[in-house]
Assembly symmetry: C2
């Protein structure tokens, strides 16, 4: 029997007080679906003499991404209308590495709707929505910036959207499990 | 004589009303410094029958990134405390592709300072800063999330920080020119 495929578990939950417990929960769900999960904290070595801690963390996370066969990305909006930029960076890295990616968000509203929450929008002469600084807002009905949604579309899927309770915005794993099922369908049964 | 190196010009200015003019200005500066600039709009073909427009745009941008020898990323905070997620995705893609990247921000304040602008922070028992949702805030003195700052550090440089006037937050090209000088120093004189 071959080893289980390894999933890089990307998302802003590393910043939560219960990050370690969430990592354990995600890894347990990975096993249930026939995978092995790699949580960013796994690789975080103790501070190394002579190397700044943020660089140690970066290198550990990059090593896990290179080790992983696929990634599941939590794109739930983080301190604003869009996903955590660290997670967006990692999704881009997977695109560059040519590795399969799956993604979910716990806010079901599309990007246009979320930008509308923070300010009044108006349509310009050609019908594009613009915010109060005249900066345009994508109106593709997508969960976030088109680069994030379309890297999934190129792989035949969409960002999974789930409506989580506000106090479970980052802890709700319904969308994460949906990604695991997508991954099992796309990758495991084929092999 | 060899051809000039090609620079992918990433940033949220594609969403500005004067996006095309900014693209022209950036490309002119590229030529001044011995490069050729590739602006995301360059590749944006007309809508193609049978393919959704956001996917057409994604494919055009990815093709430009694959064509480019290096990238310059505008990481100025966009609709919140962090960089545009589309630009962060692209910076990650460059890391995955192993291509050199350079970056600037027109807000000189570090990430911790910007999060402090939007809410009160408190230190937890181990001294980590947390926001009012108890979500931790990186305190590395960096311009943004460590994945963005450290992908530059791995290449021996930092995100260039410049203090632009508020009404020129995305249009000020001082930091962009500093990146061009870095790139010329790092890449052109070596070849």
């Amino acid at each position: 029997m071959t080893r289980p495929l390894k999933i890089y578990l990307a998302g802003p939950e590393v910043f939560l007080p219960d990050a370690a417990a969430l990592g354990v929960a995600k890894k347990a769900l990975c096993v249930t679906h026939g995978f092995e999960g790699l949580f960013p904290f796994d690789g975080e070595a103790a501070p190394q003499s002579g190397t700044r801690l943020d660089l140690v963390i970066y290198r550990a996370d990059v090593a896990l991404m290179r080790e992983a066969d696929l990634g599941i990305f939590n794109l739930t909006p983080f301190r604003g209308v869009s996903a955590d930029v660290g997670t967006a960076f990692e999704l881009g890295m997977f695109a560059g590495l040519g590795k399969p990616s799956f993604a979910y968000t716990n806010d079901p509203v599309d990007l246009l709707g979320r930008v509308r929450r923070i300010g009044i929008l108006a349509q310009d002469a050609i019908g594009a929505w613009r915010d109060q600084q005249s900066i345009s807002v994508e109106d593709f009905g997508s969960a976030d910036n088109l680069m994030l949604e379309m890297t999934l579309a190129e792989q035949g899927r969409a960002i999974v959207r789930h409506s989580a309770a506000p106090d479970r915005l980052f802890a709700d794993l319904t969308g994460f499990e949906a990604c695991l099922r997508q991954a099992a369908e796309a990758l495991v049964r084929r092999s």
